[in-house]
Amino acid sequence: MIALAGFHFRTIARGRSSLVAVIGFAVATGIVALLGLDSFRQLGLGAVSPAAVAVLNLALLLPTALGALIGALTVTAGRETGLLAMIRARGLSIAGLIGAAWLAVTGVAWLALVAGFGLAALVVAGNVPLGDMPAFVGLLIVTMAAAATASAVGVLVGTAVRTRLQAALVALAAWFVLAVGLDLVVVGLGVFLRAGEPALLAAVLANPLQAARVLALLLLDASGSVLGPVGAYLLMRFDHLGAVALLAVDLAAWIGAPLGGAILLLRHRDL
C-alpha cells in the first residue's frame, strides 16, 4: 500500500494543477500574513486576531478543496485508466487501494499546508512572540486534519461515480456543501427552529470543516469566547480538554467513515 501511495503522491504532486494549487495557497497565505502585519502590526496568534482567522479560513478552504477534488479524481482516474485493476490483480486488497489513494492525496494537501504555513511563518517571524508558536503549530495540525477529512470524502466520491468529470463536479459540490452550504442551512434553520446549543453543536460535529474551525479557535482562545454560545456550551459541558478531544474524535471519524464507505462501495463494484 505504501508503495502505491508513494507512486500516487509523486504523480499527483508533479501534476501542473497540483503545483499551481500548492504554490497558489502558499502565496495566498503569505499575502494574508503580510496584510496581517501591515494592518495589525502583528499576527496575534496569542489571541484571535482578524489575520489569524483569515489564515485559518484560508487553510481550511483551499487545501480541503484540493484534497476533495484530487481524492475523487485519483480514484476515478485509477479505475478509468486500468491502474487500480492492474494492482488489484497483483493481490493488493480493496482497502489497500483506497488507503493508498487517501494517503497520497492527503500528503499532497499537507504539502500545500506546510508550504503555506511555512511562508506565513517566515513572514511573521520576529513579529510574533515565541509563546505563540504552539498555537501556530496547533493551527497547522488542525488544518492538516481537516485536509485529511476532505481527502477521505473525495476518495469516497471517487468510488461512487464513474467518470472523472462526475468526480470533479460531485467533489466540488460536496466541498461547497461542507465549506458554505451547511453553515447557511444551520443559520437559516437555526433561526427558524430556534435551535439551542446542543443542536448547534450537533451541526458542528456533522461538518468536519466546521469542527476543525471550532477546534482551531479553541486552541487559539482557550476561553472559547469567540465561539459564542456554542463555545460556551462546549466548555461548560466538556471543559477545554474534553471539547478538544471530542472535536478531534469527530475529525477522526470523518476520516474513518468515508474511507470505510469507500472500501465497502468498491468491494461491490467493478474496477
Binding site: 507512486f7 482516474a77 485493476a85 490483480a89 493488493l92
Partner: protein, 315 residues
C-alpha cells in the same frame, strides 16, 4: 475433441484438458459457472473451462463478445457469479504476485517515469526475481516520463511491468495493440519464455491471426458465450474461407449467392464474398466453374478485403 450440438451454437469441449485433470495433472486455471450480468443484460455466460500449466491461450471474438469481461473476472476486478481456481485453490486466496493482468487500453499516469512504473510493479510481484528479462531495448529509458512516450513504447512499458516477477497466471487484454512488428515478435518471444517456465497465459484479441505463432489453445467467445475451446489447429480448421468473385458490370451476383457449398455471401463493391468451410472450398470452386465464372475473376483468402486475397489463376 468432441462436438456438442446445442440450440443455435456448436460447442467443442476440450477433452484433452479434462483428461489431463482426470489423470492427475492439476489444471493451472479452472473456471466454473462464470456469469457476469449488467442489469438484465448477460455480458458473459462462460461454460466451465480449464487450462493446464505452461499454456498460452488466445481468447478471440468480435467486439463486445465478452473477452475483456472474462479476463476481468479471472483477474478479480470484475464482480461475477461462479468460481475461479488457481492450482486448485480459490484464486482470491492465491499469494500476491501470482496473477498478472494487463487491462485493455491501459493509460498509466503521464507524469510517472518508466522506472517508477517498473519499481511499483516490482513491489507487487511477490518479492521474487524476474522469471524472464525483457530483451535489450524493449523497455524505454527508465528516466523518461510516460507522457513523452509513443503509444508503442508505453505499451511495452506496461507489458514489462506486468510480466515482472514470476506470475503463474498472466492475463493480457490486447497486448499487441500499438506495437510494431519487432515489438510484437519480442512480446511473443517473452510470452513463449514465460510459458516454457510454467506460466499459463491468456491473451485476448479480436482475431487469433496475430497470435497463432505462439498460442496452444483458442477460446472463442460470441455474445458472452464460449463457442469453441480447443487446440489452435482445430480453431483454424473452423474458420470460414472466403472466395471472392469479381462481378461483371451490370450483374448482381444473386445467382452465385445461393450455391450449395457457400455458407453465406455479401457484396463488397464489385466483389462478391462467398464464405465456405475449408473442406468445401474445392466444391465451391467447381460450382463457380460450372456457372461459367473464369478463374481470373476469383481470389481466395483475405476475409476483409479482396485486394489482399490470392488470385486463383496464379501460384
Amino acid at each position: 475433441m468432441s462436438a456438442i450440438e446445442a440450440p443455435g451454437r456448436t460447442m467443442e469441449i476440450d477433452l484433452v484438458t479434462h483428461a489431463e485433470s482426470m489423470t492427475g495433472t492439476r489444471p493451472r486455471l479452472s473456471a466454473h459457472g462464470l456469469v457476469k450480468r449488467y442489469g438484465e443484460r448477460v455480458a458473459l455466460e462462460a461454460s466451465d473451462f480449464e487450462l493446464p500449466p505452461a499454456t498460452i491461450a488466445a481468447i478471440v471474438g468480435p467486439n463486445g463478445s465478452g473477452k475483456s469481461t472474462l479476463l476481468g473476472c479471472l483477474a478479480r476486478t470484475v464482480l461475477h457469479d461462479g468460481r475461479v481456481f488457481l492450482d486448485g485453490e480459490p484464486i482470491e486466496r492465491s499469494a500476491p504476485g501470482r496473477v498478472a493482468y494487463l487491462p485493455q487500453r491501459l493509460r498509466l499516469p503521464a507524469t510517472a517515469t518508466v522506472g517508477e512504473v517498473l519499481a511499483l510493479f516490482r513491489r507487487f510481484a511477490g518479492g521474487v526475481a524476474d522469471r524472464v528479462a525483457p530483451p535489450p531495448g524493449f523497455v524505454p529509458d527508465e528516466r523518461r516520463p510516460l507522457g513523452q512516450l509513443s503509444g508503442g513504447q508505453a505499451q511495452r512499458t506496461a507489458l514489462a511491468a506486468t510480466l515482472q516477477g514470476r506470475p503463474d497466471l498472466v492475463l493480457l487484454d490486447e497486448p499487441l495493440a500499438n506495437l510494431d512488428d519487432d515489438a510484437r515478435a519480442a512480446t511473443m518471444a517473452l510470452l513463449a519464455e514465460h510459458r516454457a517456465a510454467g506460466a499459463t497465459i491468456l491473451v485476448a484479441s479480436p482475431t487469433a491471426v496475430d497470435l497463432l505463432a505462439v498460442v496452444d489453445r483458442v477460446l472463442a467467445l460470441r455474445d458472452g458465450r464460449i463457442v469453441h475451446i480447443g487446440p489452435a489447429a482445430s480453431f483454424l480448421g473452423r474458420l470460414p474461407l472466403v472466395i471472392w468473385v469479381r462481378l461483371e458490370a451490370g450483374t448482381s451476383g444473386d445467382d452465385l449467392s445461393g450455391l450449395p457449398a457457400a455458407l453465406r455471401s455479401r457484396r463488397e463493391g464489385d466483389w462478391l464474398a462467398l464464405e465456405c468451410r475449408e473442406e468445401d472450398a474445392v466444391e465451391l470452386l467447381r460450382e463457380l466453374d460450372a456457372r461459367g465464372v473464369p478463374a481470373a475473376r476469383i481470389r481466395i483468402g483475405g476475409p476483409e478485403d479482396p485486394t489482399r486475397a490470392s488470385p486463383l489463376d496464379r501460384p
